[in-house]
Amino acid sequence: MAVPLTAYLIVGALLFGLGVYAVIAQRSAVMILMGIEVLLNAIGLNMIAFWRFVNPGDYSAQIFTILIITIGAVEMGIGLAIMMLLYRNRGTVQVDQYDSLKG
């Protein structure tokens, strides 16, 4: 038998869990952005797996995945620009040291 849909979805779920772990546990903003990229990858993998196995005649899923990749690129660019600014002002990229708004 060929590779079933559930196998791809399990890979996507594992990637999602690891991405959530990276976003929560890391302190550096760069690492948090990396975790977000892994989350977006997991979502794209799920979407493509569903497209392939449920409705391969409709290519909208691939277009949504392309849009996800685009938005991920824009988010990464702006996030890194903000991080660069914060680094030049504060000298660190550790997110738990940006606590000046904490009462």
Partner: protein, 296 residues
């Protein structure tokens, strides 16, 4: 099981292991640069899975966008922040996995334990340390190992619960109504036609979003966005051209060096005697720019 199915399973298992292990290494290694490389492995694995799912165009886009674009940005940012060692979670429950993915990073376990113990005492003055202590940067093996985070077992527990719950739900659920029809091999053409007809507005909107994103990134990261006058002055001073290197020996060479840089010259001169560095004419200009850098 036919040969094609066996090959498909083989490719699937290898690509799935690459992508999941890459993500695991990204999340757990202690070196930030190394986690960027692990992230690249994960992206390549997911791109291979896309190709295996007969979405060739997306596999190609994945490699070009994520690896060619975003990963370069990430690695640039890692190097820009002078923190390639990172400050990962050396004190966590998952230390076995971390040790595995961080092989060769820690010079000796004794030093690491000592750093952790020391940091247990002065965990409060992390702000002063900031991770950019020259002492920390100098260390070879246990680079930045002193910046251990507080234990985040709850994060690991939460994500393991989430991932395990998702997998359990997937395994418990009865199968989706899948079809056996194979997609059109000319999927790139179909995607292009859809992008130009049905999803035209989404396409244009994505273009506008990228344009605004470029403007925003340039606006945010432009030089000169400094909060106060001192920082701006320091920036301007740092960008002055370095002091010219004179062929003639001093005292004429020392005329343009500011007095505070002269101290630096003597100090670094002592260093140079130990290290056996370059000749003293070069040292003057370098020391001056170094002291300016330190002031900023």
């Amino acid at each position: 099981m036919s040969f094609a199915e066996a090959a498909e399973w083989f490719a699937f298992v290898i690509l799935a292991v690459i992508s999941v292990a890459g993500a695991l290494g990204m999340a757990t290694t202690m070196s930030m640069f190394r986690s960027g490389i692990f992230l690249m492995a994960s992206f390549i694995g997911v791109a291979g899975l896309f190709v295996l799912l007969s979405a060739d165009l997306l596999g190609l886009l994945q490699v070009m966008m994520y690896i060619g674009g975003m990963l370069v940005m990430i690695l640039f940012m890692v190097l820009f922040s002078h923190d390639p060692g990172g400050s990962m979670m050396a004190d966590m429950d998952m230390s076995l996995i971390e040790r595995f993915f961080s092989l060769g990073l820690s010079s000796s376990p004794d030093k690491e334990g000592m750093d952790m113990e020391r940091h247990g005492h002065d965990g409060m003055d992390m702000g002063g340390q900031g991770g950019h202590d020259p002492m920390d940067m100098g260390g070879q093996g246990g680079m930045d190992m002193s910046m251990t985070t507080p234990v985040k077992r709850w994060a690991a527990a939460l994500s393991v619960t989430l991932g395990g719950g998702l997998v359990a739900l997937l395994l418990l659920r009865p199968a989706w109504p899948t079809t056996d029809t194979t997609p059109n091999p000319e999927s790139a053409r179909m995607i292009g036609e859809l992008l130009m007809s049905k999803y035209m507005m989404a396409f244009e909107g994505a273009g506008l979003l990228i344009l605004i994103g470029i403007f925003g990134a340039v606006l945010v990261a432009r030089p000169g966005a400094y909060p106060d006058r001192d920082a701006r002055d320091a920036y301007v001073t740092r960008d002055l051209p370095p002091a010219p290197i004179d062929e003639d020996p001093p005292p004429s060479a020392d005329a343009h060096v500011p007095p505070e840089a002269l101290e630096e010259v003597t100090v670094s001169g002592a260093h140079r005697d130990e290290a056996g560095g370059p000749p003293p004419q070069n040292e003057t200009g370098q020391a001056a720019s170094e002291s300016l850098d330190r002031d900023s």
